[in-house]
Symmetry: C2
Subunit: 240 residues, 2 copies
DNA sequence: ACAAAAGTGTTCCAGGTACACCCATGG
DNA sequence: CCATGGGTGTACCTGGAACACTTTTGT
């Protein structure tokens, strides 16, 4: 016989739900992968860096909360956003001890264009792009969430065209290659092989326009063609 | 200047958090992929089939809730469980309208051995293995969750050794092959190629024991060696 | 003229595909 | 002895890895 009602000793938990965003961008000038961190100006973890997050409001979608948070911190036109993972164990937020509330967070993973992303300095709390190698100890379980997001980023790069959300509309093949090497490491592929493999797939169109950057032969600007990419959707290892 | 407090019009949402499990198993006799459904015996969606789910209790981990739910429905020794996705938009649960509470669900994906899984009939509510092709309209947004879990299952099969969680300790290579074809479809690979590719990876050990099933040459029983598999972890497309 | 960056081509080899074929058992 | 399923082998080909080489610019 199933119990219809729970006894008092096993009552349901009450939750506040937050979203925490792992927002990446790539500084192609300095070849660094960056993550957006905020300096907390209230308890808990006041004075410590953490992922930007917010609590979900009445009537608000999870994704809407993630977008709202993002819009509060940076102005950006193009971005890629997807849900990552949910962390909801008890005692992951110090505020839980005082009140009888649990805090569950749904983490989101975002990728924005570094060049066009304008940080919104609100004067009080700090906000900054941190190179992935220099991320400090974060508040809450945010180092774990960040690690999770980093893994997802590397996976995404391999089989999905997220890179083109971060690159400008027109880009050179070296731009693309450098993006991959800064995220994935130096030894994922030879440049010329990377180049010919991608071109053979025929979803990168040469605009014919050349651009010169200091010494060396000028490079062609390419454009990503989403429709031409479609057949490769869900196929593994398109880019590597 | 950041607002420290929210105005009354944008107050935080209060949540109950549930877990919904997409529990798969494979009937290798009949070559069918099965999913566990329960017949709801209370509102909302009374009398309709849905994924088995439960609400998270005080002090309980999300994963613990998922395991508790599973243990209430089936007795099983070996199983694979991982978090899938969280659905938390407003109005996804009819109960929300009456009270000022939102229902967020963290879905979990599970794989169990069909042969050893014993359904716990509690006499009142129905519970059954449904072939994936015959799944009816489910309560809540559970068809969407199921679709999500199905996608995850197919991906998992390709690069992770989940199959061996579902197969018995000793199995023939045809058992393995049939598992893959029933989940992935007929045309994913030739049997003999599938066979030689896997054997070359050297994590399947031939026990030498032969087993005969009706007509035809008897097959060798193999055992999966988790340690020998370790180097292939995180490598893509191990099985296809 | 030379260095630096972009782009092309070539050779070699692993690994996948599509088969044909052999083996052992039940009926 | 033949159908059935298990198991082995081979010939072909694609596609990646490594690397040499050419082209076009800045200084």
């Amino acid at each position: 016989m199933p119990r219809r009602k729970l006894s008092a000793t096993t009552s349901l938990a009450d939750f506040k739900v937050g979203v925490d965003n792992v927002i990446f961008s790539v500084d192609s000038q300095q070849n660094r992968l960056l993550v957006l961190l905020v300096l907390r100006d209230e308890e808990p973890f006041m004075g410590q860096w953490s992922l930007p997050g917010t609590l979900v409001r009445q009537g608000e979608t999870l994704e809407a909360a993630a977008y709202r948070m993002l819009a509060e911190k940076i102005r950006v036109e193009n971005l890629y956003l997807e849900q990552l993972y949910s962390f909801g164990g008890p005692n992951r937020d110090p505020r839980e001890s005082s009140y009888s509330v649990r805090y569950l967070t749904v983490s989101y993973f975002a990728l924005v264009r570094y060049a066009e992303a304008e940080l919104i300095a609100d004067g009080v709390s700090g906000i900054a792009w941190y190179p992935m190698q220099q991320v400090p100890a974060l508040g809450f379980d945010h180092n774990q969430i960040l690690e999770y997001g980093y893994r997802r980023l590397r996976n995404k790069l391999e089989y999905s065209p997220v890179a083109f959300e971060v690159l400008p509309e027109l880009f050179t093949l070296s731009d693309l290659y450098q993006l991959y090497t800064t995220v994935l490491g130096e030894n994922f592929s030879d440049y010329s092989n990377f180049r010919s493999r991608l071109l053979k797939l025929r979803f990168l169109h040469d605009t014919g326009v050349k651009v010169s950057r200091g010494a060396g032969r000028p490079a062609s600007l390419y454009r990503f063609d989403a429709e031409a990419f479609a057949p490769h959707k869900d196929k593994p290892m398109v880019f590597i």
